[in-house]
Symmetry: C2
Subunit: 345 residues, 2 copies
């Protein structure tokens, strides 16, 4: 049975495992780079990050029966992809801080941030070239990144105000976001890369198709559970644990938060109008966000429904692992899924 103690142990082991990928990422990032460009190129990965995705690749390799080391190039490709998307997301969202430090564009300027992102993308292809089957890995990662683009596009279009200087966004903005829209966005924006991370582990050690698929399903479910959990923490987390201000998504006008989407689905009349009017303000303050959160807590069961949704996906993730042989790696993957249900940061 999965316990809280195992869940915490699993997270610790996962974070230790993820560290192995750093020298591998650096190896690819330092190919074909001039002296004066090294600092901005290494900055994004030196600032930190928990390396959850590459750790999932390495543990998936082990769970599928092979040695972790065979999956290092694929793990590096996955974590470079994650950082590539963060560099660009921070530009798109005008975010000035990440992991407590200035974002790449804020520290070096927009031009250099774009050039760093392009350099990351090439390092991804270099890493994929060291996997056992470069065309197959490339095909999957290429589709993954195109899907990430689509997820980011939807997330932007779910915003309820802002970006008045962006003609496409103004024209295509969503008026209502249903739970189906939300799930579609989350699969694309968050879940697909975690799915790929897990599949890449199994593929790197030549695992049979059914194990690759089982780990892919695990990753997809875990990704959804993780994002739903993240949305809940955004509105109801403790700032001293998460290190983030409560209500950030509301401040950023997002309907792409499951709790907000569920609340709007439940509310009607003046309460619904009130919540929407906050989300659509040109400038939303953190005090506005607190009002919205209070309204959601008092007038809806959105929080409980979101928690239930998260836990259902955690359960699906654990069940997906059934075809895998019983190993310590499998136990850790189960523990990690359980951790998503109980995490407070």
């Amino acid at each position: 049975m999965v316990s809280e103690a195992l869940a915490k142990e699993a997270l610790k082991r996962l974070i230790e495992t993820g560290k192995k990928v750093d020298p591998v990422m650096e190896k690819y990032l330092l190919r074909h780079v001039s002296e004066a460009f090294k600092e901005p190129v290494l900055y994004p990965i030196r600032v930190g990050g928990k390396r959850i995705r590459p750790a999932l690749t390495l543990l998936s390799a082990e769970a599928a029966g092979g040695p972790q080391d065979k999956a290092l190039p694929a793990a590096a490709a996955v974590e470079l992809t994650h950082n590539y998307s963060l560099i660009l997301d921070d530009i798109i969202d005008h975010s000035e801080k990440r992991r407590g430090q200035p974002t790449v564009w804020k520290k070096y300027g927009l031009s250099i941030a774009i050039l760093v992102a392009v350099h990351y993308r090439e390092s991804i292809s270099e890493a994929l070239n060291d996997t056992p089957d470069p065309p197959r890995f490339t095909e999957i990662l290429t589709e993954t990144i195109k899907v990430l683009v689509e997820g980011e596009r939807l997330d932007i279009l779910f915003e309820q105000a802002g970006r008045l200087d962006e003609p496409y966004v103004v024209e295509h903005r969503y008026k209502v976001v249903t739970l189906d829209d939300y799930m579609d966005m989350v699969r694309k924006k968050t879940s697909v890369l975690i799915r790929t991370a897990c599949m890449f582990g199994a593929m790197s050690v030549g695992a049979p198709e059914d194990l690759v698929n089982a780990l892919g399903e695990y990753g997809e479910a875990l990704g959804i559970a993780f994002q739903v959990g993240d949305d809940i923490l955004d509105l109801f987390g403790k700032e001293e644990l998460t290190g983030k201000k409560v209500g950030q998504d509301i401040v950023e006008h997002k309907l792409g938060n499951v709790v907000v989407a569920l609340a709007l689905d439940e509310l009607s009349g003046s309460d619904r109008d009130e919540l929407l009017s906050i989300l659509r303000k040109d400038v939303v303050t953190y005090d506005d966000a607190k009002c919205a959160i209070k309204l959601i807590e008092e007038k809806t069961s959105a929080r409980e429904r979101a928690e239930k949704l998260r836990d259902e996906w955690v359960k699906k993730a654990i069940e997906s692992l059934a075809p895998l042989p019983d190993t310590e790696a499998k136990r850790l993957l189960e523990g990690l899924a359980y951790f998503v249900s109980i995490r407070e940061y």
Copy 2:
């Protein structure tokens, strides 16, 4: 012997040849794309472009002894790479028009332009997966794009004013740009992709190493000649032929124009100070640019030296083709190089 008539015929044939690549690019761009994203994704290639690079790939394939069609995926990868770099360069340079139409960021907004660029990069990998040796083609294109990044970084750092909101640029800006610096930048920013375009043609038809290298050298020399010619036209072209305002590079504070670099190298004392003071003005007008151009014409031989430099590289390009068998394709490649010497637009 290469004549002016052949040169013009070669350009015409080149442009016809390049058109073959459009449906191939569209095929990759339309993979994994949602309905509402198709328009911005197709916009950059529908706006126009002469398709010189993919035409070079196809003609190189033919010159190396194989059918052009075998090189279509590689040609598509090359032209997608060119468009990918233009979408991002236009963001970096705040350019609002390209080919007489709004640039992608101007038309759709910054966020969507970045997402379109990312989508292009994935389509490149999809195209490379259809070449005869995906890992080898990927290795070369990955290095090519990293070198393009470096070329763009240098070009930005050669600017003599502006970008005060970009800490890295302010800190690393070049004070002097020598001819060596210029040549290094041009090889990286322009020449490397043309080199890759030509090599990819030969590689696509399984040509022997010496022919691949000969075409690579041709492409590199052609790229340098082309860029030097472009710089000359920027300052001394006829607006009614080029369709561009004279002195754009000076307005953009660029030392990355060979004529400017050569003029500064030749000038001393108050003339040099005057030219530098124009280049370093916070806002340079087209009238300022005219003053600078007049000074360069009257006080230096920079124009003549630049023309000589261009013609030397044209000669090198033509000589590089010596190992290739005598075919019509070879004759067209020679004609095209010659065209670079005489072009007025």
